[in-house]
């Protein structure tokens, strides 16, 4: 894993240095939501911030969006300091916060976007054009004149994205933007990310979905407990997913189980000698192939493989501490 310290000397569209955000915790002890992090997001980069709930992702986003003041350290967006120059920062950013909330539900999608366009100081004619294009871009043109309260969660998320783009921002900050999206909408979202990349917009996207991070990001930074653990390229993230595959099988005899134990990177997590059921966990790329081959050679046909969730990968990478939120 590369250290993020190397990012100190670079300059990017988003630059965070020694950033801390502390809240009063139980018993008066300070709780560090963000604990001295350094991060650089290059211009035109789609950068993922990956971590479990409570890792500090949203806190960092809120600081970058000027919604929360840091306890110490600096954060700059397009060269503007988020504390000293909040208005300048707001001119260049677009924000999308995940979830159902954040829209005027009694208004239509078009009315919502027209309203937000005014807050980005667009003239009405320009606003009408941009709103129309954005509604088309997020696939809501057919529902543009219906009230948002009738929308599904995924549709609201798409409208959130359109809202984030209404000011034509050079830096987009997306906090869990795909929460609630159905698979088709999520696929469209990935296509949209590609378009934003092609338009040379800088995107900082938080997620706890490794597959999503792998699919849309140029680089991914892992965050946990308010600290950055490192920055990786998406291929490594993909490697984590496949490295920790698990295999479950039925009709497995004891000699086959013994063979499993000899495969490097494979661990027999569970074996029921009566039911002849087996669960093998892997923690090394390629180990799963060896497990499958051994099972096939033993004549076992009842086999399934599955991939771990983020928390399980965290268990492998950083231990149980990573699950504490």
């Amino acid at each position: 894993m590369k250290t993020v310290e190397s990012a100190r000397t670079r300059s990017g569209d988003v630059e965070v240095r020694e950033l801390r955000r502390t809240y009063p915790g139980r018993g008066g002890e300070p709780r560090h939501a963000i604990d001295g992090i350094d991060l650089t997001v290059e211009a035109g980069e789609v950068h993922g911030l990956l971590g479990p709930n409570g890792a500090g992702k949203t806190t960092l986003c809120k600081i970058l969006c000027t919604l929360l003041t840091p306890t110490s350290g600096t954060a700059r967006v397009s060269g503007f300091d988020v504390v000293e120059q909040p208005t300048a920062v707001r001119r260049v950013i677009g924000t999308v916060f995940g979830g159902d909330r954040g829209l005027y539900t009694r208004l239509t999608a078009r009315e919502n976007l027209m309203y937000w366009s005014a807050l980005y100081l667009l003239k009405p004619r320009e606003a009408r054009l941009r709103v129309g294009k954005l509604l088309e871009r997020v696939g809501l043109e057919d529902r543009a004149d219906e009230r948002v309260e009738t929308f599904s969660r995924g549709m609201k998320q798409r409208l959130h994205l359109a809202r984030g783009l209404i000011g034509d921002p050079s830096v987009l900050i997306l906090d869990e933007p795909t929460v609630g999206m159905d698979p088709v909408a999520a696929r469209d979202f990935r296509a949209l990310m590609d378009e934003l990349r092609a338009e040379r917009r800088t995107v900082l996207i938080t997620t706890h979905d490794m597959a999503e991070a792998e699919a849309v990001c140029d680089r991914v930074t892992l965050i946990d407990g308010g600290r950055l653990l490192g920055t990786e390229d998406p291929k490594t993230i993909g490697g984590w997913l496949t490295a920790y595959d698990r295999v479950t099988a039925g009709g497995v005899t004891a000699p086959t189980v013994a063979a499993m134990r000899s495969i490097p990177g494979a661990t027999v997590a569970e074996y029921d000698a009566e039911a002849l059921s087996l669960r093998v966990e892997t923690d090394r790329e390629g180990a799963v192939n060896q497990v499958l081959r051994a099972l096939a050679e033993a004549g076992v046909s009842e086999i399934t493989t599955s991939r771990p969730g983020l928390e399980e990968v965290y268990l492998h990478l950083i231990g149980a501490r990573g699950l504490r939120v």
Binding site: T59, L68, T95, R101, Y104, L107, W116, A118, L119
Partner: protein
């Protein structure tokens, strides 16, 4: 910036139109007017018709401002839109003032409501004898109400029991503003307190405009409304800015 103001006004009008329950403070105005006019008519005091009309209209203006304008920031937090509004380049205080000004402007419909009920159901035709002064008083009252509601909107964020404060701030102000009972009829010790409520000056002037005689010292009343309104707006701007900074510091902008 005018675009922002118009957008906020349009938003507020749409929200009010599509959330009919928010119009309740104005819905009760005709009933109040009817109740008070019934009392004055049966008491043989037809001369108090103008007082009743002005009084119930002021009750409508104050109630609507407290319940709707005072609730704007908290409603935005509830909807989750406050974060989005703050992260746009539009100055937040402009967005807030535009919405509050729209609400207070709508609240002036209570004047028409009261006059309508008096006219149609009681055959009372309250005439405005000093139209220019009447209009000027309404304009100054609108500005002062907007400033005062700005203060409420900020301060209500600090409490988790907005409804309790909203209720507590209605009846005492109906009395202090002289909405129903002219201030001259209130106990003497209440007079100084009443005079720092801008609506008491508004009520006096509006009532005077509905009498055929001359209006005594109208400039004093207008200046009083404006000074108290500006003071309210100044305090509102300051308190909103302090409360926003507190929310930035504590990270509670999006909290419910």
């Amino acid at each position: 910036m005018l675009t922002v103001v118009w957008a906020e006004a349009a938003l507020q009008l749409r929200v009010l139109r599509r959330t009919p329950d928010r119009m309740l403070p104005l819905v009760v105005v005709p009933l109040l007017t009817a109740a008070i006019l019934t009392i004055t008519q049966n008491a043989g005091r037809a001369d108090l018709a103008g007082t009743a009309v002005v009084g119930t209209a002021i009750i409508g203006i104050w109630g609507f401002a407290i319940y709707i304008a005072g609730d704007i920031i908290e409603s935005e937090r509830w909807l989750g839109t406050l974060e989005g509004v703050i992260t746009t380049p539009a100055p937040f205080v402009v967005t807030l003032l535009a919405r509050i000004a729209t609400v207070t402007a709508v609240s002036f419909a209570s004047i028409a409501e009261s006059a309508f009920v008096a006219d149609v159901f009681f055959g009372v035709h309250p005439a405005v004898h000093h139209k220019l002064l009447f209009t000027l008083t309404l304009a100054c009252t609108w500005l002062a109400m907007t400033g005062t509601a700005l203060t409420m909107s900020g301060l209500f964020v600090l409490t988790r029991a907005i409804g309790t404060y909203q209720n507590a701030l209605t009846y005492p102000f109906y009395v202090l503003s002289g909405a129903v009972t002219p201030i001259s009829l209130l106990p003497g010790w209440l007079h100084p307190l009443s005079r720092i409520v801008f609506l008491s000056w508004s009520a006096d002037l509006l009532r005077a405009c509905m009498t055929s005689g001359g209006v005594a010292d109208p400039a004093k009343g207008i200046i009083a409304i404006l000074v108290l309104g500006v003071a309210g707006a100044g305090f509102g701007l300051w308190s909103t800015s302090v409360i926003l900074r507190r929310m930035y510091r504590l990270g509670t902008i999006g909290h419910l």
